[in-house]
Structure formats: structure tokens, C-alpha cells
């Protein structure tokens, strides 16, 4: 199970939520990595097939489109889980203490609200697509099945942001997601970097890299 950083609550409810969160995170990882690998295998096979035997996979386009939707919407949740969704944090980074925590709670609660709101309309859209009965042209897969990732992903992202809000409301430390602490401290990082630079000989690093390549140097 994913280890929760910091002095977080050990109550049975939080542990149960943590267990469920770990399971969801594991599923997200599987979906994302399998989708990318499947996309790569299918597209490479299609190009090789087209160019070598004049025959590719007819279903490539429709599966590509489905995978793009799945990766995008399941990945939003993964992004929320690790605080990786793209944002401008320059002002946020300047805030300290309670201000920073208040901003974090506002951001995660607001983001959760938007995700849940869109999730609701994604469910309605799913119902509309299902009622039309549209399928993919070659494989005949119902579109609503492929688009399930949309409400599911938006819901999971909303859930992640909600859990982060709750975590920050119930703990002393500042969390960037449900399980990960915000650890960025310029002073610490600068010290680590200075130590690293003093301790290392760039030439030896360079040589090590080259030796790793199986190459020597004059």
C-alpha cells in the first residue's frame, strides 16, 4: 500500500480510504502504461504491415482515438494524485505557512468541484451516446464503452482533489496530494546542490558516462 508521508491520521477510516486510494492508483498505473504500450505496438505493427506486406490494421484509427481519450481522462486523476497537472505556481510558491495551506485548500476544493460538475455532465453525455447506439466503424465497439473513461477519470480526479483537501484540513503538514507531502524548500535544495557540486568531479562523471557507453576517450 502507498505509504502516506508525514504525521497523518492513523484512524481506521483514513486507513480504509488509503487502501482504496492505493487500489485506484494501481489501476490508473495499469491503464496508463498498458494504453501507451498498446498504442506503440499497434501503430508500429500498422506501419510495418503497411510498408512491408501492404496490409495494416484497419482498426488503428479507432483504437488510437479511444486510447487517446482513455489516457487523457484517466491520466488527469494520476496527475492530481501526484500534483502534476500543469499550473502556474509562482505566486503560490511565494506564500508561506497558513496562507499557503489556505491557497492549497482553495485550489484543491475548487478543482474538485469543477471535476465533479463535469463528471455529472459526462455521465449525461454517456447516456446520450448510449441511446444513439453509435459504434466504432471496424470493430463495432459501442462508443459509450470507450468513453466510460471520461466520467470515470473526471470522478477520480475530483476524488483525488477532495482527498487532498481533507488531508490538508486534518493534518499539520502541507500535502500536495492525498499521500505526498509538499517538500520543496529552496534552502535545502540549494545546500544539497552545493554539496553535490563540491563533491563531484565533472570529468570523472563525464568519463563514467562514456565508459558506460563502452567508449574510451583520447
Amino acid at each position: 500500500m502507498a505509504k502516506v508521508q508525514g504525521s497523518s491520521s492513523r484512524s481506521p477510516i483514513m486507513r480504509a480510504v488509503g487502501g482504496l486510494d492505493w487500489l485506484l492508483g494501481w489501476l490508473e498505473n495499469i491503464v496508463l502504461s498498458v494504453s501507451i504500450m498498446a498504442m506503440a505496438v499497434m501503430n508500429i505493427g500498422n506501419v510495418l504491415g503497411n510498408n512491408l506486406i501492404g496490409k495494416g490494421f484497419l482498426f488503428t484509427v479507432e483504437i488510437n482515438q479511444a486510447l487517446l481519450v482513455i489516457i487523457t481522462f484517466i491520466g488527469v486523476s494520476k496527475g492530481a494524485r501526484h500534483g502534476r497537472n500543469i499550473r502556474m505556481s509562482a505566486i503560490y510558491d511565494q506564500a508561506k505557512g497558513h496562507w499557503r495551506k489556505a491557497m492549497n485548500i482553495l485550489i484543491t476544493a475548487g478543482s474538485a468541484a469543477v471535476m465533479f460538475y463535469l463528471c455529472w455532465y459526462a455521465v449525461i453525455y454517456e447516456a446520450q451516446v448510449r441511446s444513439i447506439g453509435q459504434t466504432t466503424p471496424n470493430l463495432g465497439i459501442p462508443l459509450w464503452v470507450l468513453y466510460l473513461a471520461v466520467p470515470f477519470g473526471l470522478f477520480l480526479a475530483g476524488l483525488q482533489y477532495t482527498l487532498t483537501t481533507l488531508r490538508n484540513l486534518t493534518s499539520k503538514e502541507l500535502y500536495r496530494s492525498f499521500t505526498e507531502l509538499e517538500v520543496y524548500e529552496e534552502a535545502d535544495l540549494a545546500a544539497v546542490e552545493a554539496e553535490k557540486l563540491e563533491g563531484e568531479d565533472p570529468d570523472s562523471d563525464w568519463a563514467a558516462r562514456r565508459n558506460g557507453n563502452g567508449e574510451g576517450r583520447d
Binding site: 487523457t72 502534476r84 583520447d218
Partner: protein, 427 residues
């Protein structure tokens, strides 16, 4: 209402909300006020259709190829090659940095992968040689952005989707400005090296050079696969992206054996996450641009201005460059492309300006914006990779921004910088 929506979006953006949230809230606010009869399910539909175009498959495939190469030896071999030939000249190290970033951009297409791969290897050496860290990091951040222009370019793919333009033509048009920037950075590096009186490194003998050349032959095959495949008509950009993954797998797994089978799931997961955080912006951007198009905001707000500049192509290009540059200083280039492109398309069509020139200009502004304070995306990548404070990274940036803006001016004045190769390949 329009003003209120834009102010609300800007405030949310500044507060640090994930960028998709201000875009979606802005789209919802405009939809409720200007399109009262429209159902919010339309936004969901627009988001889905935004991420469905097949050409977008090229983005995760190029990112996957870059992730495989970053894990493997490709970057080091390219770097060795450039260093063997240029390292002994005055400013050899920073020139090696600029040229290696361009070459790695040509094989990976990812600015972040370039910062990581080239920066991690060269920054310690440059610091040891006596270059200031602010110069070193600014050089790395800005040189990495050449990857946005040199094909395969993710920004060009996104613009191609937003403006319905040929990704292949956008790819080749980016080469000229990319090389021009590399030359400018190299000259500046030479001047800095002279000013600081940095000692010149020993010359690598011809045996060493040949060894470096032999070592880099396979990585140099990437541009051949991507560009050669596209311009010979063998591959579409999407197929070229798939082949670049295939090529990366072959050289890193079978030839160099630097990537193992067991590494693939984690590499794919990393690619999936990067793709998702980019594509949700594409989806949200598409939803926003759908609302503003439906509400005819571009025509109402910018119509009179664009009508004026449409008769003057140069002025139109200046307005486009300034708009995208300012936008990319504050938001991710993808957002800027999706929000601004529908606004400018009618004027571009009416003016008769070559749309590929406009696309190259937009991609160039994305590159500049990605490295420009306050919110250039690559500044934050550099903060994470080099673990240095924000101010230290942006301190050395101004000379590079000036050179990049000079490239913009040159591109507007001499469009052939971008169009020469395009005309050669496609006309």
C-alpha cells in the same frame, strides 16, 4: 461578461489552479452568459473531440521515444560527437550545449527530455570550466526550446490540429529558425567565453572524432527516420512517430542494451502521465475555443482590429507574434494555441499570409514563451532538474530572449528562413 470571464480566469491562473480549471470555468461562465440554451454536455463533447484527432497520437509516441532515449545512451553519444568536433574551440562547451540540444531536439522533440539529458551531463562541466551558473542554466533552458522548433515538434503538431494545417510542412518549416537560433546562441557563447577568458579545451584527435562519429551514427538515424520517412512520402507524421519508438527500442534495447524489458512499464507510465497532463489542456482548450467560436467572440471583439491589419500582412504577423508571445509568457503554449488560433484564423485566411509561416511563428513564440519569465514552463523544469531557485535560473535569460525576439523579427522580415525548406520539399 467577457471581461469578467477573462479576469476570473486570470485570477484563478495566478492563484495556482491547474490550468485546465480556469479554462473550463471560463468556458462555463461564457457559455451560461452568452449561450443560455446550450447544454454543458456540449463542453464534455468538445473536450473529447479535442483529444481524438488521430494526428495527436504522434505526441505520446514522440514522448515515448524521448523517454526511452533519455533512459538510454542516445543523448551522451550525440553529446560526445558534438564535443569531439567543437569542444576545442573558444566557447566549446556552451557551443556544444547549444548544438547538442538542437540535435537531441531533432531526435526527441521534447524540451524537458533535452533539459534533463543534455543539462545533467554538461552543466557540471561548464561550472567547472568557470562559466556562471546563471548563464549555464539560461543557455540550457533556451537551447532546449530549440527542440520545439526542430522536428519532431510537439507544438507544431498541436498547432497543426488547432489550425487544420499540414504537420509535415510545419515540421520542415521549423528547421530554418531552429538552426538560426542555434547559430546565434553559439556566437553569444563564444563572446561570453572570450569575455570571461575561459581556457580552451584540448583538441580531440581524428581517431577520437571518428570513434565519436561511429558511436553517434545510430542516434543520428532518428532524423532520417522521421524527416526522411515523412518527406519521402513513406510515413505520415503519426507513422513517423511510431517508427521513432520502434527505432529507439531497437537501438536502446537490442544494440546498446541500456533499456531492459522490465523498464518498459515504468517508461510507458511516465509517458502516459506527461501525455495526460498535456492532453487535458488540449481538451479544455478545445472546449474553451468551441465556446468562444460559438459565441462569435473573435468576430465581435477582434473583428475591427483584425480587419485593419488583414490588409497589411506584416502588421498581422506582428500582432500574431506579440499576442502569442505575451500569452505564452503566462500560460502553457498549448492553451495559448487553442485559445488564440480560432481568433486569428479568419484574418490569416483573409490576408493571404502563408499559414505555414504563421504556424512557424506561433511555434517560435511558444518556444520563447516556454523559457520566458514569469511562467515559462521550462524554467520550472530547470528548477526541478537543477534544483536551483527561480531567480537564479531567470537571471541569465534576458540576452537569450533578445536573440529569440530578433529571430522573430528576422522571420517576419524574411519568411524564406522558414519557407525555403518547405518550398524545396513540398512545392
Amino acid at each position: 461578461m467577457l471581461t469578467f470571464a477573462f479576469i476570473l480566469m486570470f485570477v484563478l491562473l495566478l492563484l495556482g489552479f491547474p490550468m485546465m480549471v480556469p479554462l473550463l470555468i471560463g468556458a462555463l461562465a461564457l457559455m451560461f452568459s452568452l449561450l443560455p440554451g446550450v447544454d454543458p454536455t456540449s463542453l464534455v463533447r468538445a473536450m473529447i473531440s479535442g483529444v481524438r484527432p488521430s494526428v495527436l497520437v504522434a505526441v505520446p509516441m514522440f514522448i515515448l521515444a524521448a523517454d526511452i532515449m533519455t533512459k538510454g545512451h542516445t543523448a551522451n553519444r550525440l553529446l560526445d560527437l558534438v564535443h569531439a568536433f567543437l569542444g576545442h574551440r573558444r566557447g566549446g562547451l556552451p557551443i556544444t550545449t547549444a548544438v547538442s540540444c538542437t540535435l537531441f531536439g531533432a531526435v526527441s522533440g521534447s524540451t524537458q527530455a533535452t533539459v534533463v539529458a543534455i543539462g545533467s551531463a554538461l552543466r557540471p562541466k561548464m561550472l567547472k570550466a568557470g562559466y556562471k551558473d546563471s548563464f549555464t542554466m539560461a543557455l540550457l533552458v533556451n537551447s532546449s526550446d530549440i527542440a520545439l522548433l526542430i522536428p519532431p515538434s510537439i507544438a507544431a503538431i498541436i498547432y497543426g490540429v488547432a489550425a487544420s494545417e499540414s504537420v509535415g510542412e510545419l515540421f520542415i518549416a521549423g528547421i530554418g529558425p531552429g538552426v538560426l537560433i542555434m547559430v546565434m546562441f553559439s556566437i553569444y557563447s563564444w563572446w561570453i567565453s572570450k569575455k570571461l577568458d575561459i581556457p580552451v579545451e584540448p583538441r580531440v584527435n581524428w581517431a577520437g572524432r571518428l570513434r565519436a562519429l561511429r558511436g553517434a551514427l545510430l542516434p543520428m538515424g532518428f532524423p532520417v527516420v522521421v524527416l526522411g520517412g515523412i518527406y519521402s512520402g513513406l510515413f505520415s507524421p503519426t507513422e513517423a512517430a511510431a517508427m521513432s519508438v520502434f527505432y529507439a527500442l531497437i537501438i536502446e534495447m537490442l544494440v546498446y542494451r541500456s533499456v531492459k524489458w522490465r523498464d518498459l512499464p515504468s517508461i510507458a507510465l511516465s509517458t502516459g502521465l506527461i501525455t495526460a497532463v498535456v492532453f487535458i489542456l488540449v481538451g479544455a482548450g478545445q472546449a474553451f475555443s468551441w465556446v468562444i467560436s460559438m459565441a462569435q467572440i473573435p468576430t465581435e471583439v477582434l473583428g475591427p482590429i483584425l480587419d485593419t491589419v488583414a490588409d497589411n500582412p506584416t502588421l498581422l504577423l506582428v500582432v500574431i507574434a506579440v499576442s502569442y508571445f505575451v500569452a505564452c509568457m503566462f500560460v502553457d503554449p498549448i492553451v495559448a494555441i487553442f485559445v488564440l488560433t480560432p481568433i486569428f484564423i479568419p484574418a490569416i485566411d483573409a490576408s493571404g499570409v502563408d499559414p505555414i509561416l504563421v504556424g512557424t511563428l506561433v511555434v517560435l513564440q511558444s518556444a520563447i514563451g516556454s523559457a520566458t519569465p514569469p511562467f515559462g514552463y521550462d524554467i520550472f523544469t530547470a528548477m526541478a532538474v537543477f534544483r536551483r531557485p527561480y531567480m537564479e535560473i531567470v537571471k541569465g535569460t534576458p540576452p537569450f530572449i533578445i536573440m529569440l525576439l530578433a529571430t522573430t523579427v528576422l522571420l517576419i522580415m524574411f519568411p524564406q528562413i522558414a519557407l525555403f525548406l518547405r518550398d524545396l520539399a513540398f512545392r
